[in-house]
Amino acid sequence: MDDAHVVYDKRSGYSQALNDFAREIFAIIEEKPRRLSDVERELESILGGPLESDLKKMVEKTVAEFDKMGLIEPMNSA
């Protein structure tokens, strides 16, 4: 939509709004299961350089929000 991305969670039936940054992080996880470090590495690859600490914190906070919203779940460590 014009100012945010709206996603529908088929499992819960809830609809959520994501800003551009959250949508980008979600797309990375949506592609395949990732560890937090993998998400950061993928983002560095997209941005073409290392992430600053503020941005790393934003990534962590965003992923934590996804967990709270039920949009992601832990994967096995195998």
Binding site: M1, D2, D3, A4, V6, Y8, K10, G13, S15, A17
Partner: protein, 310 residues
């Protein structure tokens, strides 16, 4: 008359069916079999449903509603009307003087609780020149008065309570039941319409104050099977002495406000998400602040005229 359906027009047959086995009230996509055992309530009911199609049976019926007395004493001594919807309802009986309220509120409850064929909005809906306008709002916010005012100002009336959206076609379907007016809005609408014959008597002392029902224009009742595409969503804000204002909403805000106003979004699930997202994308959504009915109607016309000119 609904196309392909035969209706009863003889008043004696209508009264006989309503007092006995049930009268088939066919409004838009919903057919309800109504039976009322109290003569006074039947009279009130037939007054506000004058001109509506009552079907000859048999017909596929969506809901059943019976207004009756629980026992002999309650029929004649301090009479109380009980309601049976055959849907595990738990309504408290009301004095027979409020019988029409019982019937109307039960009909609303049946749709709100039971309708899964259409996406429901707690909203008024009107249409003019192919432009469907959804007016979502909570109870007491003025949507019924605004919907009624528009209906008696040349707009086709769909509903003041339930917006019904076909999840497959995205069309709005009319469900033009009598309009429920409360307190100050009763006098406002009586002055606006200019003919008391279209109104029920006033019911005082209800939990929401005084309630009165207004029959929609006959042209709206006659066109009740014709859908329309939604083009505008208007969230009304009635505030005395407020400066008239139109505030356009972002598409995301428009989407979530539609979700909030939907009675069965969660029940319908993903198809409802896509349908509401399409409305948010394709329609103009705005919040309209006004301090009088005339002002509200003028602002609605302004919003619609602007998209027509575009």
């Amino acid at each position: 008359m609904p196309p392909g359906k035969k209706c009863i027009t003889d008043p004696d047959t209508i009264t006989k069916n309503l007092s006995g086995k049930g009268l088939l009230l066919d409004i838009g996509p919903i057919c309800t079999k109504v039976s009322i055992k109290f003569p006074s309530i039947r009279e009130d009911f037939l007054h506000i449903y004058k001109g509506y199609p009552f079907l000859e049976g048999p017909a596929i019926t969506d809901y059943y509603l019976e207004a009756y007395a629980r026992n002999f004493y309650r029929r004649y001594m301090r009479p109380q009307v009980a309601i049976n919807t055959y849907m595990r309802d738990d309504f408290i009986p009301l004095p027979d003087s409020m019988g029409l309220l019982s019937v109307e509120m039960s009909l609303n409850w049946q749709v709100a609780f039971g309708c899964k064929s259409h996406i429901l909005f707690h909203a008024g809906v009107v249409e003019k020149n192919g432009v469907g306008v959804i007016i979502p709002a909570i109870s007491g916010s003025g949507k019924s008065t605004l919907s009624a005012g528009l209906a008696y100002d040349g707009w086709r009336f769909f509903s003041d309570e339930f917006g019904m959206l076909d999840q497959n076609t995205g069309d709005l379907y009319p469900y033009p039941r009598p309009i429920s007016l409360k307190n100050d809005s009763i006098a406002v609408m009586k002055a606006w319409v200019g003919n008391d014959e279209f109104f029920s008597r006033e019911y005082h002392g209800t939990p929401k104050g005084t309630i009165c029902y207004l029959r929609p224009p006959m042209a709206s009742i006659a066109a009740m099977t014709e859908p329309a595409k939604p083009r505008v969503v208007i969230h009304p804000v009635f505030k005395r002495d407020a400066k008239p204002e139109i505030k356009t909403l972002t598409k995301t805000m428009a989407f979530f406000r539609l979700v909030r106003s939907s009675a069965n979004y969660g029940d319908i699930g993903e198809p409802a998400f896509h349908a509401l997202a399409k409305i948010a994308e394709d329609c103009i959504s705005c919040e309209v602040t006004y301090s009088s009915l005339e002002e509200g109607i003028a602002l609605v016309n302004k919003v619609v005229d602007e998209i027509s000119d575009a």
